[in-house]
């Protein structure tokens, strides 16, 4: 018994393969678009990352064949007192500079969030430290902090606050770290201020009016309206800033080269010294990679602490 056909069967003709139509398929079109940049990033970020891990397991003096040594480079770092000084220095530098930039940047953003004349001009001028190439502005700071001709010392001496010759800002271990933190803050604070200002401007004025009617003081409004609404912005800005402060190279390389006596040596400058000046690629790659776990911990801690509350 055959099933009654409901309609006269039309011969189904499979459409001829059309390249044009194939290219229009969402998956095909999308992957043709994203594949070249993805391959590019895989070749110049992904591959070097894993090659770096491999290098860190080798004894590999520059310009010679390497030999596999397992974790020996990491063990050597563990027993290297300079390495532990680098860890402490990097954390001090990152934490103090980040707190200064966050607090100062939020303060400046609140100041800028008032109405005043020449606001756009002021904002443009305040951002200058952030846009000018870091190495070039750091050279100016190096001259400001010069041991013999520091303008800070000249001013302090001229006003009678200190006796000549005055402190050696980059020659004293503690002052050198302080100087680096100040210069890093100088450069990074505008980024916080302008980004946080943009965040502040998205807060509806009605919220403040409502809080004022409910009798909230200026501090209450800041604490219970501004801060909770700003948390996501603060989180993103701080995360970027922490990563790039933790891995900072150029500012320290120019101002102190990690000195005096490794007092300002951080991960990036130490890895550079070992790999480029010392010619030990394997050891240098290992030191650079030890940045990853503490950096991941810092980001995790921040994510927990600054997590946008679900209220």
């Amino acid at each position: 018994m055959t099933a009654p056909s409901l309609a006269p069967a039309l011969p189904y003709r499979r459409p001829a393969f059309s390249l044009g139509r194939w290219l229009e398929r969402p998956d095909v079109f999308s992957w043709l678009m994203v594949l070249p940049p993805i391959l590019f990033l895989a070749a110049l970020v992904g591959y070097p990352f894993f090659y770096g891990i491999w290098l860190s397991l080798m004894n590999r003096p520059v310009a010679s064949e390497g030999t596999f040594v397992g974790l020996a480079n990491y063990v050597a770092a563990w027993h290297d007192p300079t390495f532990w000084q680098v860890v402490v220095n990097t954390f001090v530098y990152t934490l103090v500079a980040t707190i200064l930039k966050m607090v100062g940047g939020l303060g400046l953003a609140l100041v800028m969030n008032q109405d005043f004349r020449f606001k756009n001009l002021t904002r443009a001028l305040l951002l200058l430290p952030f846009i000018v190439p870091t190495v070039l502005s750091t050279i100016a700071w190096q001259w400001i902090l010069d041991p013999a001709f520091s303008v800070i010392n000249w001013t302090l001496i001229a006003t009678g606050l200190i006796d000549p010759p005055g402190p050696s800002w980059l020659g004293n271990p503690y002052l050198a770290m302080l100087s680096l933190i100040v210069v890093n803050t100088w450069r990074g604070l505008p980024f916080y201020a302008i980004t946080l200002l943009a965040g502040l401007q998205t807060i509806s004025p009605e919220l403040y009016e409502a809080a004022t009617i409910d009798g909230a003081s200026t501090w209450d409004r800041f604490r219970h309206v501004t801060l909770p609404l700003m948390k996501p912005v603060i989180f993103i800005v701080t995360m970027f800033s922490v990563i790039f402060t933790f891995a900072d190279f150029q500012l320290i390389y120019v101002l102190t080269h990690g000195g005096p006596a490794n007092a300002t040596q951080v991960f990036a400058t130490y890895a550079f010294d070992v790999a480029m000046n010392g010619g030990q690629f394997g050891q240098g790659a290992a030191i650079a990679l030890t940045m990853v776990p503490p950096l991941a911990l810092l980001i995790l801690a921040m994510a927990i602490y600054l997590r946008p509350s679900k209220s």
């Binding site: 290219l23 940049p37 990033l41 100041v111 000018v132 070039l136 965040g199 550079f272 650079a288 940045m291």
Partner: protein, 282 residues
Amino acid sequence: MTVESHSVSARFLKLWLPLGVSLLFALFPFYWMAITSLKSNQELYNRKIMPLIVHNPTLKHYVDLISDTGFLQWTWNTFIVAVVSTAISLLFGAMLAYPLARIRFAGAALVSFAIAATYLVPQPLLFVPLADIINSLDLGDTLTSVILTYPTLLVPFCAWLLLGYFRTVPSELEDAARIDGASRLQTLIKIVLPLCGPGFISAGIFAFTLAQNEFLYALIFLTKSDVRTVPVGAIAELVKGDVFYWGQLMAAALLGSIPVAIIYSFFVEHYVAGLTAGSVKG
């Protein structure tokens, strides 16, 4: 009257004082750069002379910088490298961003993850293996070495920023074009891209300033004077051992900052939009 003067002094304390202090802190190093570059060496290295102003301005450091060093070559190199790597980054950024913004396709989540991960990898993590790779490809001391590596720092940012701009284009416009028979590529080029000009300007300005700012890769890959960029040239050639040529260094720092500052001043609104897009919208 008292109310008036009270509010004036309150406004001074809450606005003008902190603003003035911030501006002084932000701008003093540039002032110092400028006046140092205009002082003669006698004036520069005499502690008896009040240093806050220039007593006898001279352009000698600028003349020496341009005639005795490769500064003009470094400036040209910096410009070429920044322009080419920005162009590559905008192209690749748009190629990544458009499908992510508009099309549901298999593997989109993976692509987004790859972009975010690349964004968060700091350079010092990669410079040792990259130095080895660049050497083995025989690209050391060529501008190609930095033109190839800078986009790795810029593409993720451009992609992220352009993603936001592509999403603002009403999809009805694209649907209409597709119904009229335009292919996806034609729709992108003829309908979407012209509407996203501001996004490309923001991403381009940001990428350009980042490329001008890069130092670590340039320091490692470029060791010959004629291929150096301005920051590396200044550090490597205007500091000889313990001798700092401060006048020339300041002249180089100022001249090297001016191109960025000029471009930035024309497009400051776009720059700020780019700077804040990631954190405020994201």
